[in-house]
């Protein structure tokens, strides 16, 4: 047991470096995916043009339907055959941003639908323009409704950064795998790595739960 502890401590610098990189991948792919998903969700929900809506729904369904790993392989291994070569890092970011935009747009659409119709009608009856209505009434309420879901989703994104091991990106799982291949203590090192994933995800879901109670009016 003391050996396990001592080994774990000695692995920690490498694992924490990997964890930092996993968090960085999560952050960048959300930074790009969130605004994209917000716009995608809002436009899909509110557009009056049917062809546009169908197109956007198709994109959203594709983004949610394709496994992130498949998208990652398509970009990293597939695109070079049409002369588009991205680094492992940017392949991951591109693949995750695509998936994220799809999922976030669904969360946002749900939130916009969750706002009572009366809120919009009150704006109309008062003669308040569309942009102002969106900025001051719809967006703040949609964001409030969707914040816990978005934080929960961010935790899932963090978990799925482990897929990046497939393109040898130095994230947490990759760091654990490398330690295992040197020490052959796969069981121990994956337990420690798993615990690190769990700590972050549990903290995030607790935070989401706390936000859900905090964000009621």
């Amino acid at each position: 047991m003391s050996d396990f502890l001592a080994d774990s401590v000695s692995w920690l610098p490498d694992l924490l470096r990997g964890l930092g990189h996993s968090l960085w991948l999560t952050f960048v792919s959300l930074l790009l995916g969130l605004p994209l998903g917000l716009v995608l969700g809002y436009v899909t929900e509110r557009t009056t043009s049917r062809p546009l809506r169908w197109l956007l729904v198709a994109v959203i369904e594709l983004a949610r339907g394709l496994p992130a790993l498949v998208v990652l392989y398509l970009i990293y291994y597939g695109l070079p055959s049409v002369e588009v070569v991205l680094s492992a890092f940017w392949s991951i970011i591109a693949a995750f941003t695509f998936s994220n935009a799809g999922y976030v747009s669904e969360i946002v659409r749900g939130a916009i639908r969750g706002i009572p119709a009366g809120q919009l009608e009150a704006c109309q009856a008062l003669g308040i323009g569309r942009a102002r209505t969106f900025a001051s009434v719809i967006a703040p309420q949609a964001l409030r409704i969707s914040t816990p879901s978005l934080v929960g989703y961010a935790a899932i994104v963090f978990q799925s950064t482990s897929l990046a091991v497939a393109v040898a990106e130095p994230e947490l799982l990759n760091a654990a795998y490398n330690i295992g291949s040197i020490t052959f203590q796969y069981l121990q090192v994956f337990i420690v790595a798993g615990a690190l994933y769990a700590v972050v995800v549990i903290a995030a879901s607790r935070f989401a739960g706390w936000l859900a109670t905090r964000t009621q009016y």
């Binding site: 009572p116 009366g118 809120q119 009608e121 009150a122 704006c123 109309q124 009856a125 008062l126 003669g127 308040i128 323009g129 569309r130 102002r132 209505t133 001051s136 009434v137 703040p140 309420q141 409030r144 009621q216 009016y217």
Partner: protein, 270 residues
């Protein structure tokens, strides 16, 4: 203290005599379903008209067509001589966004479900309405909001969110919000139906003060007491048409139409 501004409103300069709001042969269909079958109605300035009738009879739709939350199928609505419904070659067409905003800023609307903005306090609701609809400056909007909240007896709740207020309190704030835009006429869509019976009087008394202050009001209601005591005229709307109308007291006490009598009896037996 008056609920209205003492400064002369724009309609003070309008030609005297003519009705302020005229609804002319208004129809509304949703697909095959006809809700309004040619409604004619007029309100003089300062007049309070109660709109009564069975649920599904078209009361809400009529109010919503007047401020064009619903686009009428045919007919016209005129406010102080200005037609509000856009037509092309005699047919009703969707108005431009700009025209729509202009119409709605002149016609206040108070909803059955209050519809206060959930993400804003009572005061913020009124400040935001003025700033977004009229471009009022922040200080001026805030001062007016406070004055109006005092006048509807809600000054002590200026910082409360709608979820912290009772139905009656929310509706008083909603009335104040509507007043903040200085509308020419206010439409009330069953303003007390979603409020506990013992809380209704606080809303009705605000409306009574408003009527006494000279506000032009069209009130869809099931409150026959209010209709009798406060409204000048009562209109009975049934199956999409006006079946009977007249001075409130006589219509409510001695209706001429069987259907009106039947409706009033059902309400009284409640």
């Amino acid at each position: 203290m008056s609920l209205l501004n003492t400064t002369p409103s724009p309609d003070a300069t309008a030609a005297p005599g003519g009705p302020l709001l005229v609804v002319d042969s208004l129809t509304k269909s949703f697909g095959d379903h006809t809700v309004l079958r040619g409604v004619d109605l007029h309100l003089d300035k300062g007049e309070v008209v109660a709109l009564i009738g069975p649920s599904g009879g078209g009361k809400s739709t009529l109010l919503r067509c007047i401020n064009q939350l619903e686009l009428p199928t045919s007919g016209q609505v005129t406010l102080d001589g200005t037609p509000l419904v856009s037509t092309r070659g005699g047919a009703v067409v969707a108005p431009s966004a700009k025209a729509l905003l202009r119409v709605r800023r002149q016609i206040g609307m108070v909803f059955q479900s209050f519809n206060l903005f959930a993400n804003m306090t009572a005061e913020q609701n009124i400040v935001f309405a003025q700033r977004a609809a009229l471009g009022t400056g922040k200080d001026e909007a805030r001062e007016r909001a406070r004055t109006l909240l005092e006048r509807v007896g809600m000054g002590h709740k200026a910082g409360s969110h709608p979820s912290q207020l009772s139905g009656g309190q929310q509706q008083r704030v909603a009335i104040a919000r509507s007043l903040a835009l200085d509308p020419r006429v206010i439409l009330f869509d069953e303003p007390t139906s979603a409020i506990d019976p013992e809380m209704r009087s606080e809303v009705l008394s605000v409306m009574r003060e408003l009527a006494e202050a000279g506000m032009t009001m069209l009130v869809s209601t099931h409150e026959m007491g209010f209709a009798k005591q406060v409204s000048d005229r009562t209109v009975f709307l049934c199956d999409g048409g006006i079946l009977e109308e007249g001075p409130s007291r006589s219509l409510l006490e001695q209706p001429t139409h069987d259907r009106t009598r039947q409706f009033l009896r059902a309400i009284a037996e409640g």
